[in-house]
Amino acid sequence: MADGSLPARDGPYSSLTRSATAPIELPSPRLARSHLAPEDAFTSQLSPRRDRGAAVHDSGNELGPRTTRSKLGSRSRSRRRKRNWKKLLWVKQSYPDNYTDQATFLENLQRNPRLQPYEFWPLVADISVILQQVCSVTIFVVCFVGIFQERVSPVSVVGWGSFATFVGWLIWDNWVGLEDEDEVLQRRRSNRNRAAREQPSRRDRPPSSVIGLSPSATASVTNLAAAERAYPQIAIHHSHSTSAVSFQSGLSQASNTARPPNDLSDEPKHRSSSPAPSGRTAMRLGTIKSAVLIYSTLLGLSPILKSLTRSTSSDSIWAMSFWLLAINIFFYDYSGGVGVKFPASLSTNAALMASTVLASRLPSTGQVFSLTLFSIEVFGLFPVFRRYARHQSWRYHVTLSVLLVIGAGAGVGMILGGEKDNVSPLKSGLLGVLVATLIAIVAIGGCSWWLISLQKYKNAINGPWDQARPIIISRRLWDDD
């Protein structure tokens, strides 16, 4: 009986309009399952009430007819049967309580109303974000193994890593600058338009209030926010000075927002030129300062980290770091755009802990320092860069993905192949790249195809019994989440 009631297997996106519970094998369900005489069913078929709202309003202002009807109708049962059934509770129906009206029963049922069928290539593009993260983790593990087996010098790992981070920072800084200039331009244009119009009404200002910002203030505020975003470790490790100061200045600048919008149209003329570059410079200086701080902190902490888990056996460390890195991959914020403030703190913290326990297996202070610094670069800063790259241009994203796959593949190949001395590391590295590329393509394509093929099992039932989603426009100021 359960299966007969819901025709779930009649195709992926079939829209079920009504009467899902009517048994399918009935020759004519309209006639067979009602208390109506055949001719009644015929007439009701001619004028099916499609819209419940209409039915409500039809029956609305007719109290007079209703009372007369009940006087009339109570006399002859056969006459009353002719009247249409209404989906209303306050009307005295001339049908039994378990009467099921075939025309209106379940007419408001919707199946998969908000379904957006996945398409292959966008899905592939989205999966590549996961691929990037997996590859980053792989590269980190490869670097650890290389350092652990003393096949790679830790200084070269961290040197190259830091160099790449520095280059990435320069590029990122450039992007942010470009973005802000765009924003400033747009805002200036919109301000001019607004000034041309009369001043806006008092209460209709959107709560996000980007309009109210003076351009320079936005530039610096976003920069500061971005700086904090880029270096979540600043907050983790103790560098209160920079972040606090920058936050303060951010606040003071942001308080400009409260200014009424009408005295702001003249503001860009005399303020836009000077403070923005100085804000940028201060931000850069702050970044360098915090980088130096992290660097020296790590340097100081390395001896402690080195002996942190000496009493623990290596097996537990491998298992633990495996799970921590798995947590990193599973809880990573794959959907976050560039505006996320502290993306997926669980994921980042798990990765940093994994790197800490792994680093504690290493024998020398230099190695510990290198690995920890490298992990901060890989797990803390690199995701920010990747997010911006994806935001900036699709081409950067693809290039980055390809590079990561190649890097991870080559690394794994070299690590695995290098144990036997008869194979040259170059050869095994190339083999690794080949295998990694194949796996990546198969995994991405296969997963996308699988997810798409699973779509036909989706069967979400919605109807008037669902809790409505309220649409509230004027979010009050205290709802700042």
Partner: protein, 479 residues
């Protein structure tokens, strides 16, 4: 011909002394059924020191069985532990029909299962709407499907509720009746109005609502302040309504987690003199609050029936409500203004209602009498009695389910005419690949417990309780 009367056991976790809609529904229905000559007992769990047997007004016998409460006054679902006690009560009171109430009540679900095992007719009344999306609803729906696989009849409080229940439990729509809630209309009378004859000069007709252009119009909200009652909508709409209509004020009764948002809104917009928050009120006081106002605003996001809007209309208030769930079925549209569950639409609908009242277009003084004719517990009891007669076979199956369908084979297996264990197992087996087998296992164990009880506590050793003196059955079959 004397009508047959039944011995009915209402089973639900929710009953007095706890206040609430389901509780009063059970009590009112029981009282009215007793008035019609039936015998009704209520089985619920123990509330604090209230254990054992109590009698309520009109001879409603209440059994408070001792069971542990785990969540929102539902008992712990032990499935079988209730059976021996239940069997004892049923035999003592010579019960013929078990009538369970409310989806979330485990006691009710277990009683329906045991009742069928003992060969009794079972009815289930569903008071709520449950979606299909989240894990909690899926679990609830699966449980409901288990219970309702073998039930004689189901009663829902609105047509939307019927659609919902039919989908959730995969039922034959013909074994689901729609019997709305009702209200005691004498408890919800509007303020007395001056007699036309006592006025110095006759005004024909009396103005619908004596509301001058400068009089303050009061909007009443009586609701628990929860998310699903639409308090967010209310919070967003109140400042805008008050801005558009300066000569208006709000009275809000009820408490809940969203009360803080309302308070903040009041302080933010400096509306202390326009919005009055009364906090929690008892159900008896609701009428006294309602009659202070002209408009009742009900911004709920989901509602199976919405008794409170009927109460408001009965008090002579013009009702503004969101068109969700079963609400559009409840009141005629000359008493209500419907809004979509959106802030803008709610503000606009309230504006329309205010304009209509100020223009004296709404005859709110007639609402009470009209509502009185629409909803009464006597009517509900009469309609429930038809269900009892139908499942007991006192109305022929053709008449109860419809002539054409009586012979059709596809649903007759599910209608629960048959108590044979193998047929019951067949019904349960269809519940799902794994669930079906699990349910069958439960039913078999339940049956074994029943057999054991029959042997350990034989039926003839159980005393029969004396009945409360019955009223002569009211013979009012036509209207």
């Amino acid at each position: 011909m004397p009508r047959r009367t039944y011995n009915i056991a209402m089973v639900c976790d929710f009953f007095y002394p706890q206040p609430g809609g389901v509780e009063s529904h059970i009590y009112q229905l029981a009282t009215k059924l007793i008035d019609r000559g039936h015998k009704v007992i209520v089985i619920t769990h123990a509330y604090d020191d209230r254990k054992g047997v109590r009698y309520l007004t009109n001879g409603v016998k209440v059994f408070h069985v001792p069971f542990a409460i785990i969540y929102r006054s539902s008992t712990f679902p032990t499935v079988f532990s209730f059976f021996p006690l239940f069997r004892n009560i049923i035999i003592r009171e010579r019960i013929e029909i078990v009538h369970g109430h409310a989806t979330m009540s485990t006691l009710c679900q277990e009683a329906i299962l045991h009742g069928r095992t003992m060969g009794l007719r079972t009815v289930f009344t569903d008071h709520s709407l449950v979606g299909f999306a989240d894990a909690g609803s899926i679990f609830t729906n699966k449980l409901l499907k288990f219970t309702l696989s073998d039930v004689d009849h189901v009663i829902c409080v609105s047509h939307t509720g019927k659609e919902n229940t039919v989908l959730r439990a995969a039922l034959d729509p013909l074994m689901v009746s729609v019997i709305p809630n009702a209200l005691v209309s004498d408890d919800f009378k509007p303020l007395p109005r001056p007699e036309p004859s006592s006025l110095p000069f006759a005004q024909h007709p009396l103005p619908a609502h004596p509301l001058g252009p400068n009089d303050t119009l009061t909007i009443v909200v009586v609701s628990r302040l929860f998310y699903n009652k639409g308090t967010d909508l209310l919070t967003a709409a109140i400042p805008r309504i008050l801005e558009n209509h300066p000569n208006t004020r709000f009275i809000i009764a009820g408490s809940g987690p969203k009360a803080i948002d309302l308070q903040q809104m009041i302080e933010q917009n400096v509306l202390q003199d326009k919005v009055e928050m009364l906090g929690p009120v008892r159900h008896e006081k609701v009428r006294d609050i309602m009659v202070k106002g002209h408009i009742y605003l009900h911004p709920s996001l989901t509602e199976a029936f919405g008794t409170v809007i009927v109460e408001a209309a009965s008090c002579g208030l013009y009702v503004v409500c969101t068109a969700v769930g079963g609400i559009p079925e409840v009141l005629p549209s000359h008493m209500t203004v419907f809004a979509k569950p959106e802030e803008n639409d709610l503000v606009a609908a309230t504006g329309r209602a205010i304009a209509a009242l100020r223009a004296n277009k709404v005859r709110t003084e007639r609402f009470h009498e009209q509502v009185k004719t629409m909803y009464s517990w006597t009517n509900v009891a009469k309609r429930a009695e038809r269900v009892y007669r139908g499942i007991s076979g006192d109305i022929s199956e053709d008449e109860f389910y419809g002539a054409e369908i009586g012979n059709a084979s596809h649903w007759s297996a599910t209608r629960g005419r048959n108590f044979a264990l193998i047929d019951r197992l067949k019904r349960y087996y269809g519940c799902g690949v794994w669930a079906g087998k699990l349910f069958c296992l439960c039913v078999v164990i339940d049956y074994l417990i029943f057999v054991f009880c029959e042997w350990w506590w034989p039926k003839d050793l159980i005393d029969i309780a004396r009945d409360w003196p019955r009223k002569p059955p009211a013979n009012d079959d036509d209207e």
